[in-house]
C-alpha cells in the first residue's frame, strides 16, 4: 500500500511538472502583459503537432524535432505578439481575452483541417521497459520528462536572475512606465516574454504528446488545468505556478489511483475552489 502511494505521488509529480511548465508560461504572460491567454492550450497543441509532423513526415529524430518545434512555436508567439497583441497594449482584459479566444478557434480549426480523425502518438525514442528504484517503477521517458522540466525551469530562473535580458524583463514586470523611461524597449520585451511563455507551453505539449496522444482538441483541457494552477498559486507568481502544478498533478494522480479515474478532474477543480475560498488571492499571491 505504502509503495503504491509513493508510486502515485511520483507519477503525479512527473505529470505535474509538465503542468508547471505550462502554468509558468501562462503566468509569465499574465504577470507582465495582463493577458489571460486562452490560446495557451492551442499553442501547447501546436508544439505537439509540430513534433509529430517532424518525426513522422520529415523523419527527424525525437530530440531534433523537439528543438525545432519549440523554436517554431516561439517564433509563432513572437510574430503573433508583434502583429496583433502590439495593437492592444492598453485595451481592457476583455478585449485581449476575445483576441486570444479568436486565435485559439483559428489554430484548433486549422489544425483540424489537415489532421486525420484519430489521435496520433509522437514515437518515443526510449525503450518501453520500466526501471526499478526500490519500490518505484519508472519508464525512461518519464525520467527524461522530469529531467528536462527541472533543467528548463532552473535555466529559466538563471536567465531571469542573471542575464541582462532577465533583468530588463524583471524591470518591466515590476513597473512598465519606469522601465520605458530608462530606455528599455518594452515592446520588444513583451514580444520576447510572449515567445518564451509560448515556448514553455510548446515544450509541455511535446512531452505530454509523447506520453499520451496528440489531437487537435487537446488544448482545451490543458488550458483549463493551467489556469487552475495559475490561480491556485496566485496570478503572476512563478513559484506559485511551479508548486501549483506539482500539487495538481499529485492530487489528480491520487484521485485517479484511489478514488475514481473518471472523476479525477473534479478533484482538481474542487481543490482550487477550496483554496480560493480560504485564500482569495491564491497560495502565494498578494492582495491587490
Amino acid at each position: 500500500m505504502a509503495s503504491e502511494i509513493i508510486q502515485q505521488i511520483i507519477n503525479g509529480l512527473i505529470i505535474g511538472a509538465t503542468y508547471s511548465l505550462m502554468a509558468v508560461g501562462l503566468t509569465m504572460i499574465f504577470g507582465m502583459m495582463d493577458i489571460i491567454n486562452f490560446a495557451h492550450g492551442e499553442i501547447y497543441m501546436l508544439g505537439a503537432v509540430f513534433a509529430y509532423y517532424f518525426t513522422s513526415l520529415l523523419g527527424l529524430n525525437y530530440f531534433e524535432s523537439l528543438a525545432f518545434s519549440i523554436i517554431l512555436v516561439m517564433a509563432f508567439g513572437f510574430i503573433f505578439d508583434q502583429l496583433v497583441l502590439r495593437k492592444l497594449r492598453n485595451e481592457p482584459t476583455l478585449i485581449t481575452i476575445l483576441v486570444t479566444i479568436g486565435l485559439s478557434i483559428f489554430l484548433q480549426s486549422t489544425v483540424m483541417l489537415f489532421w486525420g480523425p484519430s489521435p496520433q502518438g509522437i514515437p518515443s525514442p526510449f525503450p518501453q521497459k520500466t526501471i526499478q528504484f526500490g519500490p518505484i517503477f519508472l519508464t525512461p521517458l518519464k525520467i527524461f520528462m522530469a529531467v528536462i522540466t527541472v533543467v528548463v525551469i532552473i535555466g529559466l530562473h538563471l536567465m531571469i536572475q542573471k542575464t541582462m535580458l532577465g533583468k530588463t524583463m524583471r524591470a518591466v514586470f515590476q513597473e512598465k512606465e519606469a522601465a520605458a523611461i530608462v530606455g528599455i524597449n518594452i515592446n520588444r520585451v513583451y514580444a520576447i516574454n510572449f515567445a518564451l511563455g509560448s515556448g514553455l507551453a510548446g515544450l509541455a505539449g511535446v512531452l505530454l504528446g509523447t506520453l499520451f496522444v496528440v489531437y487537435p482538441n487537446m488544448g482545451l483541457i490543458a488550458v483549463v488545468k493551467a489556469f487552475l494552477i495559475v490561480i491556485m498559486g496566485g496570478m503572476g507568481n512563478f513559484l506559485g505556478a511551479i508548486f501549483g502544478g506539482l500539487i495538481l498533478g499529485v492530487v489528480e494522480s491520487m484521485a485517479a489511483g484511489f478514488i475514481s479515474s473518471s472523476y479525477k478532474d473534479l478533484f482538481g477543480l474542487l481543490l482550487v475552489m477550496l483554496i480560493l475560498i480560504i485564500r482569495p488571492y491564491g497560495l502565494f499571491g498578494k492582495k491587490y
Partner: protein, 322 residues
C-alpha cells in the same frame, strides 16, 4: 422628443418582430431567429454582469445547463409540463447561483473569471459521469415540446416553429423589460458606479458584494430560463451544453454587439447567428475564417456595433444643415 423617438422605434421593432414569421414563413429562417433569441436570453444576462457591472464571467453556461437539465429531467422522469419545468428551472438556478455567488463573489478580477469557468467545467464532469441520473455523454433525448393545459378547459401543444417563435418572443420581451427597468433604477446606477470605480463606489457605501450578488443571480436565472426553453425546443440535452464554445459565442456576441447597452445584445445575437450561416459557403474553412474575423473585430470594433452606431448618430447630430 428623444423619448418619443425611442418609444416609436421600440414599438416598430416589436411589431416587426411579430410580423416577421408571417411575412417570411420559411422554417429554417424561423429556426435561425429562435436560435438568435435563445442566445439573446443568455447574452442579455451576461451583459448585466460584463457590460454594466464590469465583472467578467466564463461560467454562464453552467446555469444554461442547470436550467436545461432541470427541465429535461422533470419532463422525462415526472412528465412535468412547461409551466412547471420553467418554474423549477428558475427556482433551481436561483438557489444555486445564490449559493455559488455567496462563496465566489468575493474573488476579484481574473480569480473570479477562472473560478466561474471551473464551475461550469465541474458541472460538465458531473453530467458526464453521473450516468444513472443524466445518462452521461449520451444525453437525455425526447423532451416534449411545451404543453399548456387546464384539466377539462383547454390543452395547447406548442410544437410548430412559429409557436416556439412566439413563446421565445414573449420571454424576450419580458426579460428586456426587466433589464431596462433594472438598468435605470437605483440598482442600475449602483452597478454602473461599481464598474467605473469599485473603490470609490464602495467608499460612498455601494456594496460591491451585495449588488454583485443581485446581478449575478438575475443573470443566472435568465440563463436558467434559456436552458429550460432550450431543452423543450431542441428536445435533447447532453453535457455539450456546458461547453466552452457556447461561452465564447456569447462573449463574441456581447462584445461585437456592444456591451453595456440595451440594443447591443440584440445586434450581436442577430449578426452572429447569421454570420456562421453565411460562412457556410466557405465549407471547411468556416471555423478558421470565423477565428480571424473574431480577432479583427476585437481589434477594430472593441466598442461594438452599438458604439459604432452611437458615434455615427452623434456625428449626424453635430452636423449643421444649411
Amino acid at each position: 422628443m428623444r423619448k418619443e423617438i425611442r418609444t416609436i422605434s421600440v414599438f416598430s421593432l416589436v411589431i416587426m418582430a411579430i410580423l416577421v414569421p408571417l411575412i417570411i414563413p420559411d422554417e429554417y429562417f424561423i429556426h435561425l431567429l429562435i436560435n438568435a433569441g435563445l442566445f439573446y436570453m443568455l447574452v442579455a444576462g451576461l451583459n448585466l454582469l460584463v457590460g454594466y457591472l464590469g465583472k467578467l464571467t466564463l461560467g454562464h453556461t453552467a446555469f444554461l445547463g442547470i436550467g436545461a437539465y432541470t427541465a429535461a429531467l422533470l419532463n422525462l422522469k415526472l412528465g412535468a409540463t412547461f409551466p412547471i419545468t420553467l418554474t423549477a428551472s428558475i427556482l433551481i438556478s436561483f438557489v444555486i447561483s445564490l449559493l455559488f455567488g455567496l462563496i465566489v463573489l468575493r474573488l476579484r478580477g481574473p480569480y473570479f473569471v477562472i473560478v466561474s469557468l471551473c464551475f461550469a467545467e465541474m458541472l460538465a464532469i458531473v453530467a458526464i459521469n453521473w450516468i444513472s441520473l443524466t445518462n452521461g455523454p449520451m444525453g437525455l433525448p425526447g423532451v416534449e415540446p411545451p404543453k399548456f393545459y387546464f384539466p377539462g378547459l383547454f390543452e395547447i401543444y406548442l410544437d410548430t416553429k412559429i409557436s416556439f417563435y412566439y413563446l421565445i418572443f414573449i420571454l424576450i420581451v419580458f426579460i428586456t423589460y426587466i433589464i431596462s427597468r433594472l438598468v435605470h433604477s437605483t440598482v442600475g446606477r449602483a452597478i454602473i458606479s461599481l464598474r467605473e470605480n469599485e473603490n470609490l463606489a464602495e467608499s460612498i457605501g455601494v456594496s460591491a458584494f451585495r449588488y454583485g450578488l443581485i446581478i449575478f443571480v438575475i443573470a443566472s436565472v435568465f440563463a436558467g430560463v434559456a436552458g429550460c426553453f432550450y431543452a423543450h425546443y431542441v428536445s435533447y440535452v447532453n453535457p455539450e451544453i456546458f461547453s466552452f464554445s457556447y461561452m465564447c459565442t456569447m462573449l463574441v456576441m456581447l462584445v461585437t454587439g456592444g456591451k453595456g447597452t440595451i440594443i447591443g445584445p440584440f445586434l450581436g445575437c442577430i449578426i452572429f447567428t447569421v454570420l456562421p450561416e453565411a460562412l457556410r459557403v466557405a465549407k471547411a474553412y468556416r471555423d478558421p475564417i470565423f477565428g480571424i474575423i473574431l480577432i479583427i473585430v476585437a481589434i477594430f470594433f472593441s466598442q461594438g456595433m452599438a458604439g459604432l452606431f452611437g458615434k455615427l448618430w452623434a456625428r449626424l447630430k453635430e452636423r449643421k444643415f444649411p
